[in-house]
Amino acid sequence: MSSMKNKDSIGHVRGESIFVDDINLREGTLHALVFDAPIAHGIIKKIDYTEAKSVKGVIKILDYKDIPGKNQIGGIIPDETLFAENEVHFMGQPIALIIAETLAIAKKARQLIKIDLEEMPAVTSTKEAFEKASFINAPRTFTLNDTSKGFEESVYIFTGETFTNGQEHLYLETQASYTIPLENGNLKIFSSTQGPTSVQATAARVLNIPMHKIEVEVNRLGGAFGGKEDQATPWAVMTALAAQILNKPVKMVLERHDDMRMTGKRHPYESSFKIGLDKNLKIKAYEVDFYQNSGAAADLSPAIAERTLFHATNSYYVKSAKFTVYSCKTNLPPNTAFRGFGGPQGMFVIEAAIAKAAKELNIPVRKIQEANLLQENDEFPYGQIAKQVEISNTWHQVKETYDLAKKEKELTLFNSKNQNYKKGISLMPITFGISFTNTPMNHARALIHVYHDGSIGVSTGAVEMGQSVNTKMLQIAAQFFGLNESKVKIETTNTTRIANMSPSAASATADLNGKALLKACNQIKERLIKVVAEKLPINGSDDINFQNNFVLVNGKRTSLAWEDLIKSAFIKRISLSEHAHYATPKIHFDKAIEKGHPFAYHVYGTALTTVTVDCIRGTYEIDSVEIVHDFGKSMNKGIDMGQVEGGLVQGIGWMTMEEISYDEQGRLLSNSLSGYKVPDIFSVPKEIKVEALETKGVDMAILKSKAVGEPPLMYGIGTYFAIQNAITAFNPNYSLAFDAPMTPEKVLMGLYENYS
């Protein structure tokens, strides 16, 4: 069972899996296209749709005036309209929706909309927003002990500035939705969303109807990575609005350029740090101001900012700390969730601070890292006490398994022999907390039906987006009832079967939904045991289980087959359905004092990255990334390995070639796949080795199998520092700027910075 294949992969490889764009359309389906703001900031003086409406096949053009409910889609803070009213705040902000018989007609009409705007100054950088006191919300500060004391205890104090750029999600499937009007004003929305309930609730608010009139159905997503947590909502709501008004099915799949221009990305961060070390290299004090470029509306920015603070110390114990995050409001598309959710931005800064200290002290970076790794019972700056800490174990296992000492020797030798190429190395420990940091979101439900032929249908609130959560759900039920996987079907994610879902996010989807499913399975089992008792001579202390389609008593197979048991239960009018609820125990967080126990557990790991830099051309190759990762007890190694490799490569992309670029007017320049590059098959590490740390696992994780979605992304940060290490080998005068991504441009400029 441990290497059960992704249950969807047969459909995927045959091209038979159905995404929103592939749904067979109902007769009379209309196609929608968004007309968006051509400038980043300004007052709308006049819009003229006359010419656009006259195009044959254009059915209607909707804007904010057509909204029956509230023109408001903000999730955390109500500060974002569905359609702009009098003012536009970012280039790409939706203003109107063209509904036409075909997409081609809608595109023609879009070019004919005339808009008259009074342009206002656009703020694009966090610095400018900060100076103008343009914020999304009040800043947040976490503190631990007294940093002024900490700096007094420090022998070495270093300060510095860092920048990490945004990141385009580049899910291969763009944002997509399709709404079908049903009878009595009810609507069914097919959406490519991580948050079906968000879509439902927001549509209800905009359409001015109760939530129960809206059914949201999600089959699967063609990638999401956070980009469809909050930002799948507007498109779904727009098709719902159009379907409500026209009483016709309406489909909208964003064209790639529209998607890139209109949607938010990973938040760029500017940060300034101050770090103090004692003579033993222990971090005595660490202060950071984080300036988050939030974009034009809150979206999930406050929650992302919060996670930056939670992960500001990465895998290290810091004796005194003070971090403040400012969510700066700019005239860019609202930035949003992206794998890691602000954590990577926080971790980058402490790695930069350590790298800077190491350079100034002329010692290997790893000496400082190693001196400060978290130990059991250390306190995080947010008050949680670290338990079952595995970071040192992964760190030392990396050093031994991959023979760091030998590697360092070879590297020195290589660099002394080669003029045109230099190698660099880095170690990157990661510690990532699992749970939504907003405690109330940590719950889920599962619905299980055992049909009277013995086959099973499972619904949960988990959305399948490539992470193979459906396979994990299937494994849980099939394993629990000892059945062949073909007997269990995982249903679509649908708000009529599972209400009030939290989005599939925070790496916690399998934990939350899986635990709810296990609960449902257990309750069915309890009822079935009563039926077993009538069929077999058992008593209360006997251990009843299921395996290979048969009932087991005290581990011994009986003659009672699964189908016969179910048939009997059905005849006896026993309920064969269960709807269970799970809420993560123990977690809490008090924002008033910024202390608590927000995480169910942490995931640990260490990556060793080796790169080769071409010192003629400024290009580089990643030779290897060698990892020891804490999976807990992985319930599916094939799937979990895919998450580690995929997360790592996405992190490497963020740190190397993926460069978001806006001009000063707020226009996205990296607005297509030709201008924005993500890793291809040739740019990934030549070798990725992943070894699982042997542990007992934690009970809070589903089947002791730890969450694996986000943490590996942060291994990618190691690539940045490995490249810096190689540049320094060529050019000792390199100033070690912390300005990600490390594009070939920055490498070449670094190689020849004050070169002599």
């Binding site: 490889v13 091209g15 020849y752």
Partner: protein
């Protein structure tokens, strides 16, 4: 009427010839396995195979991005989508290998990868693991990190080692690479008459540039097919090589005689876009695109090539490629003219050629700076050079003054450093998404030096040049 075989079905359609093949497949034919990811040839989710009969009566398949392919170019071909490689109740080898290795996560890019790997199996020549990676050079996956896909590619390659190349199609059918209807395709293709396309409308060759921006506009238009009258042969005489403007980049890479004179052509041209795009993009198309950073423009500028331009009445004029580019996206070409072929002098054994390109991502990316050098030596004396640099001016830049300076000089460090200084005066890069001006100047210097470091490693050391 456009006529072709789509999977196992014959298609005869009156749809507009300018419609993209992707649109036709998904919207007109309802085959939803082929995905639209970017509609600019940069993701490979829409990859299909195109099979055509060659003179040897053998079927030859190449991969294409259907988003950039005009429907017109499907005429007379066997177009294969993922639906067309599915076997009944089992997976084909490419699919099985992807499945075995967890090489699919969200599944959106997957049909494209499967098609590319199946295309690999249809190659006439024996394939290596490197070939399999090249076959995937146009496919982007955002989920897996590619390691599982590499394993799948390796598995496919290994299985292909046993292939019987004398009876390729039957072997592939028997070994579950393709469905059995493929064996009837040659006969069925022979029945399709070659039909002259429209004589009006925009002239389209591979479509790889035009369709990036104009696919919507061409959706309901008729086009002229370049292959109806633009030559697509590579010919060699005693001193000259003549290349039809319709020759695509893959043709050039795989031409044995060309490789004799340019032994590094494969590694050089591997830096040009991706395999499916190279299968489509014509040399002539890259010239008339007039991009200041066009890879083929730079390559052939350094060969001091001549263009033969044909007018609508059939008159032919000759012009040096370096005189063809006038200003940003402006060239010496009238509306009624097209490039017929390109010609250059075959290099002798004292002539050395090198091509360099640096972009954000090494493959399938537009260069920040690209450059090519052709240098003819007499002992240690430079008889002649032709150097071109892209991305540093409004046009692909032929370095007139630098070339003039180098003529007759001794090939030494000081000569090259002095020449580099002259180059810096000739170029005028601007800051844009491909880099700042400062970077492009530094990169141009480095790549200029790279030519000499690569061609004459015994004469030059990096330190001596940059210190």
């Amino acid at each position: 009427m456009i006529e072709f075989i789509l999977n196992d079905k014959k298609v005869q359609t009156e749809a507009k010839s300018g419609m993209s093949l992707l649109h036709f497949i998904r919207e007109e034919q309802g085959l939803k396995g082929t995905k639209a990811g970017c509609k600019e040839g940069d993701c490979g989710a829409c990859t299909v195979l195109s099979g055509s009969l060659h003179k040897d009566n053998k079927l030859h398949y190449v991969s294409l991005t259907s988003c950039l392919t005009p429907l017109a170019n499907a005429h007379g071909k066997h177009i294969v989508t993922v639906e067309g490689i599915n076997l009944t109740n089992k997976l084909n080898i490419a699919q099985q290998s992807m499945h075995n290795n967890f090489a699919t996560q969200c599944g959106y890019c997957t049909p494209g990868f499967v098609i590319s790997l199946t295309g690999l199996s249809l190659r006439e020549k024996p394939v290596t693991y490197t070939d399999s990676l090249n076959a995937l050079s146009g496919n982007i996956c955002r989920c897996t990190g590619y390691k599982s896909i590499e394993k799948a590619a390796k598995e496919v390659t290994e299985k292909l080692q046993k292939k019987n190349h004398h009876d390729s199609l039957n072997w592939l059918v028997k070994n579950k690479f393709i469905p059995d209807y493929f064996t009837d395709i040659p006969a069925r293709l022979r029945e399709i008459k070659n039909e002259q396309s429209f004589t009006e409308g925009v002239l389209v060759s591979g479509g790889t540039d035009l369709y990036v921006k104009h696919a919507d506009a061409l959706l309901d238009q008729e086009i002229q097919k370049a292959s109806d009258f633009v030559p697509d042969k590579i010919l060699f005489s005693n001193t000259k090589c003549k290349i039809g403007a319709g020759v695509n980049v893959t043709n050039l890479m795989e031409n044995c005689e060309f490789a004799r004179y340019f032994p590094y052509v494969k590694s050089h041209l591997k830096l040009v876009s991706s395999e499916p795009i190279r299968n489509m993009a014509s040399i002539g198309g890259n010239f008339v695109n007039a991009s200041p950073i066009g890879d083929m423009s730079i390559f052939f500028l350094a060969l001091n090539s001549s263009l033969y331009i044909q007018s609508s009445i059939g008159a032919i004029r000759e012009i040096l490629l370096k005189d063809f580019f006038l200003d940003y996206k402006k060239m010496d070409l009238q509306d009624h003219e097209f490039i017929q072929h390109i010609s250059f002098e075959i290099p002798d054994q004292n002539t050395y050629f090198n091509f360099e390109k640096v972009s954000k991502r090494t493959h399938l990316d537009i260069a920040s700076v690209n450059t090519a050098l052709n240098i003819k030596l007499n002992d240690n004396i430079i008889k002649e050079t032709h150097i071109a640099v892209g991305g540093v001016a409004a046009i692909p830049k032929y370095l007139n003054q630098t070339n003039t300076y180098l003529k007759g000089k001794k090939l030494t460090v000081s000569t090259i450093i002095a020449a580099q200084d002259i180059m810096q005066k000739e170029i005028s890069p601007i800051s844009d998404v491909r880099g700042t001006e400062t970077y492009k100047r530094l990169l141009a210097r480095q790549l200029f030096y790279a030519h000499f470091l690569k061609l004459f490693p015994n004469l030059f050391k990096l330190k001596d040049l940059v210190a």
